[in-house]
Structure formats: structure tokens, C-alpha cells
């Protein structure tokens, strides 16, 4: 069973009433798989009312990218949302839509559980994968700060701040405690990037002191990559900066069968949570109607558990988890 508590819900939803959830179907196979998820939820009598909004990039005069205001207002009102895959056109001058959404809603922690799915055999099924990655979602290598120093020489800035590192560490430990997880491992390359990753690691250590019931250790990223491929069962909750989290979570998705089976949740300011399928838009599958809705569905189940609708989530999960 997927553990689902991403954060404490502070939104206006109440038990026994329909919860209003913002839905961004997205691009490519997004609308098709969103429609599947709505159908399944309806068949399971899940008390969810969907408020759908289209999301597309709007390039402002100051060079910043934003998304349509109705979409923004809906998320801030409902405090909870489900998002399909979104395409970012290359060369149009605006930043990634996914990045824009993260910045707009202050989604600072990305949670990516990776759990072996019964019926999906991979070379790692015997090991039984059940780990969770908590990735810092706002800075690091994804600050988007790049410039050409002179022609032929480009600099890209990786930004690490004390506050963001502490926030994601706090979240990782709280998640571990709320979901009965025993260990948290911080992944880093502080031997090479002594100041930036060093600061991240220091914040993780400081936060770990407030959670004596959770075992904490740190590991070099390359050692972790080796060990997870050799024996993924030894990993529990892992916390790491942005780029490492992006890549490592795709690695763990590969262990369980691919991005088509990987759910994800994002924690924002003031208890806001946005769940999403992290795979791409798979434009080549749209006409064939062959997009796999599992990742979006599993993200939806994480969302249901977050809303304390555990029974409905179990009902939906049972047919494909046995």
C-alpha cells in the first residue's frame, strides 16, 4: 500500500462532503489519462469534485513566465490538486512549465515513493523495492541562472540556501515520522562541493537532532547509486537537493518498472499539496490511445490518503495490487 500522508491538510475540505480538487489534465496523453482517473474515482464513489483548468505558459514583458490566473486561484482556494504531464516547448523563451508551477505555488518538497508493484516483474522485483525520495524542489541546479561569460564559455549557477535545505529536511523527517519510516538518508556530494552540498548536509544533521526516533545517516550520491542497484531493499526515506533528486527518483522508478508507475506529491506553503504524474506527455501515444494512467492514478491515491479517504484509496488500489 502506498503511504500517502504528504502533509496536514489545511484546506476547506471536510470528511463526508465532496472534496473539491483542482485538476490540470495537461498535454499529450494528459487529458486521456485524467479522464481514466476521473472514471475510476467515480466508479469507486470517491467523494471528489473536480475543478478542471487548462495550464499553459504566458511569457510576460519582464521575461518571467506565469500560468493563467484562474488556475492559480483554484489551487490556492482548494489547497489540493492533481496534475497531468505538461509539455514545455523548446526555444520559445519561457522556462519549463513544471518549474513555473513549482515556483508559483512554492512547492518546496517533492515526494516520490518507489514501491514494487505486484504483477510488474522487473529484475529487482525479488528484492522488494519500497523507498521514498524527498527532493528539494526550488533551488540547486534548477535555479535557472545561466549566462554566457564570453562566446563559447557558459556558466550555470547552482544555488543552495540554508532555509530551503532546512525546510526540505524538516519535511523529510516529518514525513518519516507520520508514515512510520525508520530511517532517513541524506544524499550529497559534499566531498566535491564542500560549501553548497556541505550546507545542505549540515541542515539535515541539525534537523535530525530534533527527531531522535528516526535514524539518520548521510551517503555520497555515487555510493547510493551503486547500493540501490545492488540492494534497493536497504533504502527507506532519502532526502537530497534538486538535481540529484530528479535523477535518482527516475532511477528508482526504473527499478519498479518505469515512470509509468511512479506517483509523486509536492508540498507547498501553508499546507498546499499538488500531486502529479511525472512522466512525459508521450505525444506519440495520443492517437493510439495507449497512454498508461497508472502513474496518475497512483498519485491520485496518494492524494486520497492525504484527504483521509483511506478506505476509498484501498478500494481502488486492491484490484491492481493483488
Amino acid at each position: 500500500m502506498l503511504s500517502g500522508r504528504v502533509c496536514k491538510l489545511l484546506g476547506p475540505a471536510l470528511a463526508r462532503h465532496n472534496h473539491t480538487v483542482t485538476l490540470f489534465p495537461g498535454d499529450g496523453i494528459g487529458p486521456q489519462i485524467s479522464s481514466s482517473v476521473k472514471e475510476i474515482f467515480s466508479a469507486a464513489d470517491a467523494p471528489i469534485e473536480w475543478e478542471e483548468h487548462e495550464v499553459y505558459p504566458i511569457l510576460e514583458k519582464d521575461g518571467k513566465t506565469r500560468i493563467p490566473q484562474p488556475a492559480i486561484d483554484s489551487i490556492f482556494k482548494n489547497k489540493i490538486g492533481l496534475k497531468g504531464p505538461m509539455r514545455t516547448a523548446i526555444g520559445k523563451g519561457h522556462v519549463s512549465l513544471n518549474l513555473t508551477i513549482r515556483r508559483t505555488f512554492g512547492l518546496y518538497a517533492n515526494v516520490r515513493p518507489a514501491k514494487s508493484v505486484p504483477g510488474v516483474t522487473t529484475p529487482y522485483s525479488e528484492n522488494g523495492v519500497d523507498c521514498v525520495i524527498v527532493r528539494e524542489n526550488t533551488e540547486g541546479e534548477y535555479s535557472g541562472i545561466e549566462h554566457t561569460v564570453v562566446p563559447g564559455v557558459v556558466q550555470s549557477v547552482k544555488l543552495i540556501t540554508r532555509d530551503a535545505s532546512r525546510n526540505v529536511a524538516e519535511y523529510a523527517f516529518k514525513y518519516a515520522r507520520d508514515n512510520n519510516r525508520a530511517n532517513v538518508v541524506a544524499l550529497h556530494k559534499a566531498n566535491i562541493m564542500k560549501m553548497s552540498d556541505g550546507m545542505f548536509l549540515e541542515q539535515c544533521r541539525l534537523v535530525s537532532e530534533k527527531y531522535p526516533d528516526i535514524k539518520f545517516r548521510d551517503m555520497y550520491l555515487d555510493s547510493a547509486c551503486m547500493k540501490i542497484v545492488k540492494d534497493p531493499g536497504q533504502f527507506d526515506v532519502m532526502v537530497m537537493p534538486n538535481l540529484y533528486g530528479d535523477i535518482f527518483s527516475d532511477l528508482t522508478a526504473g527499478l519498479i518498472g518505469g515512470l509509468g508507475l511512479a506517483p509523486s506529491g509536492n508540498m507547498g506553503r501553508d499546507g498546499l499539496a499538488l500531486y502529479e504524474a511525472v512522466h512525459g506527455t508521450a505525444d506519440d501515444l495520443v492517437e493510439k490511445n495507449k497512454g498508461n494512467p497508472t502513474a496518475l492514478l497512483m498519485s491520485g491515491l496518494m492524494m486520497l490518503r492525504h484527504l483521509d479517504l483511506k478506505a476509498e484509496a484501498d478500494k481502488i488500489e486492491r484490484p491492481y495490487s493483488t
Binding site: S196, C225, M226, V229, G258
Partner: protein
Amino acid sequence: MLRTLVRPALSTVSKSASTISGFKSGTKYGGKTTVTLIPGDGVGPEIAESVTTLFKEMSVPVEFETIDLTKYTLNDEGAFNNAITSLKRNGVGLKGVLNRSGDFRTHNVEFRGDLDTYANVVRCMSFEGVKTHHSGIDLIAIRENTEGEYSCLEHESVSGVVECLKVITREKSMRIAKFAFDYALEHNRKKVTCIHKANIMKLSDGLFKSCCAETAKLYPSIDYDEQIVDNTCQQLVINPQQFDVMVMPNLVRNRCIQPWSWLVGGAGLVPSKSFGDDIAVFEPGARHTWMEMKGMYVANPVAMVLSSAFMLKHLMLNEAGDNLITAVKQVLNKRTCQTRDLGGNATTREMTRAIISELHELHARERTEQANLSNY
């Protein structure tokens, strides 16, 4: 008898790095080549001992100039410079692993910078006798070794905010791209894949990617494609057999290469080599000193032995190099002698003796074949 190395016809404009032009220091057949040997820390001296034992047994015309560089002597600038000078003089080095400690720039990184060994090549190949989740892997990872995230330019702009600069230049990106394609040609490889994160780091990795694409046009016989690094990590655990030669910037390689070593059985089985224009350094692919096991002789020497075999081939001692590789594969396939990482309890020295035994058998078989031919 030395086997003649036949080089494929090259469509390149000019040669790059010492792999294509071959060993330049001009040791004649019958003479001895001097190679710098840096055993390093942890289990380094033990696996280096395997190599010196094997070379003695095989009577290869190589003399080692051993430099004692460990974490205790690293901070001694004299010792460090001595190692650099020796490597520059000899042009070829065999290196264990140096412990990750020290100051602002770690010494593995400084090595590369001073020597300008800009291309690091790791070979990951499956062995029949080593059981892992996957089989049939034979991929080559080529990484740019001198810039990118390991430029080591960090500063704290205000308290609590640290910036780390990643620098990518056109010059170095073109250089590594050319190296990758030349390498693919020389080793009869069919495809080069550029691994990058240009969807997010549009300017830096974008520059790297465009340099690779530009270079690809000069090599029409080699297939070329591109892949985003997070997808690559996923593909490596789902279907690693799809990869042939991969080229990538500096930190990206570390995302991918370490899981690769366990795809084929572990850090003890993966050799690597680093090339500059006039220098080649051979060392285990996964830089793991295993300090806690120092002196116990439990480390798997295969990665170091394979690296030394590739060094022999680089020195045009192809027969010796090939025989060593064959002997190692035989030992692994037979599974009678396995070190701890492979599930057994053989020591480093026992593994070395097993390889020597295989070499004797190979030699005996060759003599029998030659005798049969002359009788005929």
C-alpha cells in the same frame, strides 16, 4: 610475438589524444617502458601488488616507478608534484585510489587538472560467471574530466546562500565529443549517445549537446542520439544493453557510472582509463578505497588488473594485454575463486594466483597449437 595492431580507416581531420596516435614515448620492442605506479590508499597497495606480481609472471617489458602517494603524503606539495612530474615524464600511469579528504580541491580533481587528462573512459562489461540482475552489457562511458560542476568554484555570496559554478566551454566540449567519436571508430563501436540535462540547463548542457551534435556530422558511419540523464538512469536499470558509447559532461557521469558498476557485479570489476593529449592514466573505474579493509587482502583485484591489461594494449603489448583479459574472464566464469564482493571468500592473492594459473594454461594451449601446426 607481438600482434600487429590494425587501425580502422579514420574519417577524422586530425588525431586526438593518445588513444588514436598510440603511445608516443617511443619504447622500442625489446626495451622496457617505465610506467608510474601510484598504489594510493586503502586496498590500493594490495590490488597494485596483484598487478606487479602478474607482470613479473608474464615477463612483460614494463618497469614500474612507484610513487607513494596517500592521504598522509598528499598534503606534502613536494610528494604531489613528484607524482605529477613522473606521470608527465613517463606518459603512462597506473593508479589506485586516493582517499577523498583534504582541502578545497580534492586531489583526484587536481591530478586531472594538472595533467589535463580530459577524457575519462569507463568500460562496463558483463561477465558470464558473475550473477547480476542483467547480462549482456558492454558499454563505454566517456566523461569530460576537467570542467563542469567539478570546476570547484564555490562561494557564499551572503550568509546562508552558497553559489556553485558549473562552467562549460565550447572548446572542451568539442574536444571530448571528438574523442568519443574517434574512440568509437577505433574500437568498432556503432553508436554514441550524448547524455545531458539540457532541458533544464539550457545554456550549459545545451552547449555541450550542440557540440556533440556538430561533431556527429563528421562521423556519418557512427549513429548518434541524445538522452536526458534522468531517463538514462531509468534505462540503465530497465534495459542497459541498449547503450554502446556514452559521452557526457563531468557531474552527469557520476549520476550514471556508479550504478553501472553494480549492473555488472560491482566496483571490483570495472576498469577505467583517462586520456590527455600525451598522457594516459589507468585506474579502477569506481573510486573506492575501502579503507576499513586495508591490510586484509580481501579486495577484488580484477578492476585494477583489467585496467593494467588495457594499459598493456595501450603500450602496444597487445598479446600480453589480451591474454590477461582472457585469463581474468576465465577465472570469473569458472566461479571457483571468488572474492567477498562476488559472494566468495578468496583473498586478493588467491585471486591473483588463479589468474596466473589461467595464464599458464593459456600459454600451454598456445604451445600445443603451435606444436601441432609445425608437425602438420
